[in-house]
Amino acid sequence: MEASTLRKLIHLSFIVALSLPFIFPINIPISVNKSTQDAYNTVESIPEGSIALINFDFSTQSAPEVYPQALAFLKHAIRRHFKFVITTFESPDAVLYAKQALASVDLTGYKYGKDYVHLGYFPGKETSISAFGRDVHGLVKTDADGSSIVDMPLMQQIQSAKDISIWLIGSYNSQPFITQIYAPYNAIMISASDGSSYQSLYTYYQSKQLKGLLNGARGGAEYEGLLGYAGQAKAIMNVQNFSHVFFIGAIVIGNIIYFRRGKKQ
């Protein structure tokens, strides 16, 4: 077979193989990692009604991996009846995802301004995280839709990082939070990650600066499992299973072809 035909065949079978889990959903059980379990237990240990900060931070590309984790944090916060604020510091794309997440969850019993606020995006990355920790109202004047936050009862309770009981960092890189928020305020913090940032964040989890850490889409699927639902992260993990099997299969077939050709020559 010609090389280009073979390549087209591989691409076609790849997309077909990865579509299979959507047509025939198969659930392969996933064991729960300790760092994920720790994250879950940390949230459970915070008293109901406390104030949480949920940070949505990812670009459109990393969204498939990180968004389900942030969404799981949001759902857990609602289940624990936390009051919460949503922020974005790195990537403005995430504001839309935060809105989408708020629209998709059940917010009965929650009142905007009193129980939750969506603050939107503040430019400046690490410097604004630090400024936010020192004086929230010095940095933020309006929420994501541009209304003033001064009169919101929830925002009156939050003056600085000290007023927030738990930080749920739904971002692919929570390192700036660790240097700017954990170190000065000794805050309780759990974090999401993506496949490439997990290794570097794991050292912070080992040194207990992060109380819990989710390992990319897999961690998201584990967390979804702990919360008792199968969401996008689970779907991604199903695709991952098929994709890895496909890759290993492709390697095996590639070698068979290689050796058969080698014998003929």
């Binding site: 390549r7 591989i10 790849f14 392969i28 299973n241 496909f246 492709a250 390697i251």
Partner: protein, 209 residues
């Protein structure tokens, strides 16, 4: 004339580089201000350079349109879209509804789709690369297969020991090799940087006169 042409740029590069380095080694407030200012200036100058990029595109595409080269019609599309985006963005703002359509409904999906192409390309590359041609490629193959079995939940299902072996490959062998490559590259990049600073490596000048 050669003073401005040749010597001044080398001296500026040297001074800027040394200030930024010195700020890192010594803690001295004046240095910190100087180095932050210089990095900010570099960001501003880089922002100016995008105009050069745009001029390059416009120059090239208009030549294609004038000469009626093959595919010239696509160049017309490109120029119209470019100026359209620029116009809406400057006259309106980046919150203008049309700008949002261009950004959220065209550019963002294109961006994500292009990144999904990586998976396809990886599949066809894996098919070619992971072949047991010699001992070296067998090692490449073994490492890859074990790590894949570690990453997919299905590996754990086959045999609980698989993730342990995979982990040894990632955090043992790969971490070591990776570190070696990184340290080597770091040493060499410092060597290259020093040669630029002292004006021995001048190919960044472009023209030799």
């Amino acid at each position: 004339m050669s003073l401005i042409r040749r010597d001044l740029p080398v001296w500026i590069a040297f001074l800027v580089g040394v200030i930024i380095l010195a700020d890192y080694v010594f803690t001295f407030p004046g240095l910190q201000v100087a180095s932050t200012t210089l990095t900010n200036w570099a960001v501003i100058v880089t922002a100016f350079s995008f105009g050069i990029g745009a001029l390059n595109i416009i120059q090239r595409q208009s030549k294609i349109i004038i000469r009626r080269d093959k595919y010239w019609i696509y160049s017309v599309v490109l120029i119209i879209i470019l100026f359209g985006t620029l116009g809406i963005g400057l006259v309106g703002s980046i919150n203008h509804p049309y700008y949002k359509i261009l950004f959220d409904n065209v550019m963002a999906p294109l961006n994500v789709t292009m990144s999904s192409m990586l998976a396809f390309f990886l599949a066809s590359a894996a098919f070619r690369v992971f072949r047991a041609k010699n001992f070296e490629s067998i090692l490449l193959l073994i490492a890859a297969v074990f790590v894949m079995l570690q990453n997919a939940p299905i590996g754990e299902l086959i045999w609980p020991g698989l993730p342990v072996i995979g982990d040894f490959f990632v955090t043992g062998f790969a971490a070591g090799g990776n570190r070696g490559i990184q340290i080597g590259a770091a040493i060499a990049s410092i060597g290259f940087g020093v040669r630029i600073l002292i004006g021995q490596e001048k190919r960044w000048f472009g023209r030799t006169e």
